[in-house]
Symmetry: C2
Subunit: 255 residues, 2 copies
């Protein structure tokens, strides 16, 4: 398998045809997986907003006040309002906002980006990233597209690339029932390949001014195993999420 | 960047020289990153054990009883004992054991594998995977080695490759203070590249009988950014881990 960046992608503006921009700059094959950073998908889709678009309601003001109290840092209640409006569930209010977006992704601040935006204050995640992936694929010689983001996670330090939308390949490979070399059922169950593709793409993409928002994974074979479209966990079976329900941050909570 | 498997690795036995086995089968370059599955590292290091080696103490019996009660499935208290002996902290007791290993990795059942073992019941994780990585690197033309595992995670479905040990490259790239195209500080902070390398390797490695336990990542450039050796989070700052402390599973906890 090979990973390479698509060179010379210009600054993306609302309405730009991302598929055409990528196809013009890469000699794509029909089984390539094209990994596109959510930042450029959002820009092309006009998901740029201004803090002034989000007048803070009482809940947002409450959250901002509590954050300021706990962290000693002034928080703009309009930013909390934007996060709330982009979310369907609030998992943590402090010391940062951890929420679930409409499409099921769990991340800090609903994935709203305050860097990387030339003409506005906020860059919101695409509304339905898998539909974005399918639309981009329509304009490419391959139907395999992954929309990527970077985010942190519990237990492990740092951020890594993850998939937030996908088209043209299943999210996961299902190994259940497969046998190991000795005929025993394997420990691994379901392998989330789109997250692994996003992580791989992030290794070569870079970030910021020197970053490239499109990476091609060539030679990835999904293989003959059954695929699954599950990507974000349901609350049932997500015990960490259940534990967060009963929890709230206190300065003394710091171990 | 290119990812390829090392072909024809035989069944690994305790005492085998993994570095020699890999170097004989791949024309390695000095900047390759060699990703080696923890299963073969454990086998070479003789980390194969038998349930009979772990006579269950009272704590293990209590855990097994509670698991049986909650899940309706008989659990071997000796397995719970093995997990406890391989762990320094117990994050969840039910409906499965989530623990921290001596070297800081958090996973289900302390990462003990009951498949993939020809001559014993249990395959324990390497005791100090980063030392294993350094030892393997000593016998290779490259000093860059990542010891990989696969595990699940909260919020996102399925398992993905992760790094549990590393040598010859920093765990993370530190982007803090770097500016985006518009001169603003970037949203991304620290990029965990060894986890991304492990995820990428897992895409081509396969599993079980058809799996290949060594993958070469060629052409990965760490770049000029500062590196960090942090890989596993500390309890301080890991709010999910703090939340799990006060939580315990009940059948009604299922949402």
């Amino acid at each position: 398998m090979e990973l390479f960046t698509v060179a010379d992608i210009p600054e993306i503006e609302p309405g730009d045809d991302l598929a055409a921009i990528i196809a013009d700059r890469a000699d794509l094959r029909s089984d390539d997986v094209v990994c596109v950073a959510s930042t450029v998908v959002s820009k092309a889709e006009g998901r740029i907003a201004d803090l002034a678009d989000f007048p803070a309601g009482p809940r947002a003001r409450e959250i901002a006040d509590r954050l300021a109290e706990l962290t000693g840092e002034e928080k703009d209640p309009r930013f909390a309002q934007a996060v709330l409006e982009e979310s369907v569930d609030l998992l943590m209010e402090a010391p940062f906002l951890l929420t679930e977006t409409r499409f099921g992704h769990i991340g800090v601040n609903a994935g709203i980006d305050r860097s990387n935006v030339p003409d506005g204050d906020l860059l919101l995640l695409p509304e339905r990233p898998s539909e974005s992936a399918a639309r981009i694929a329509d304009g490419l010689p391959t139907d395999r597209v992954v929309v990527t983001d970077t985010c942190g996670r519990p237990f492990r330090y740092g951020q890594r690339g993850v998939a937030i939308g996908w088209a043209g390949l299943p999210a996961s490979r299902d190994w259940r029932g497969q046998l190991d070399r000795d005929g025993r059922e394997m420990g691994v169950t379901v392998q989330n390949v789109i997250d692994e593709l996003a992580a791989a793409a992030n290794l070569v993409a870079g970030e910021g001014a020197g970053g490239t928002p499109a990476v091609v994974a060539r030679g990835f074979e999904f293989g003959d195993l059954p695929g699954s479209e599950n990507h974000f966990r349901e609350v049932e079976g997500d015990y960490v999420r259940q534990a967060l329900r009963g929890w709230s941050y206190t300065a003394e909570g710091e171990a």
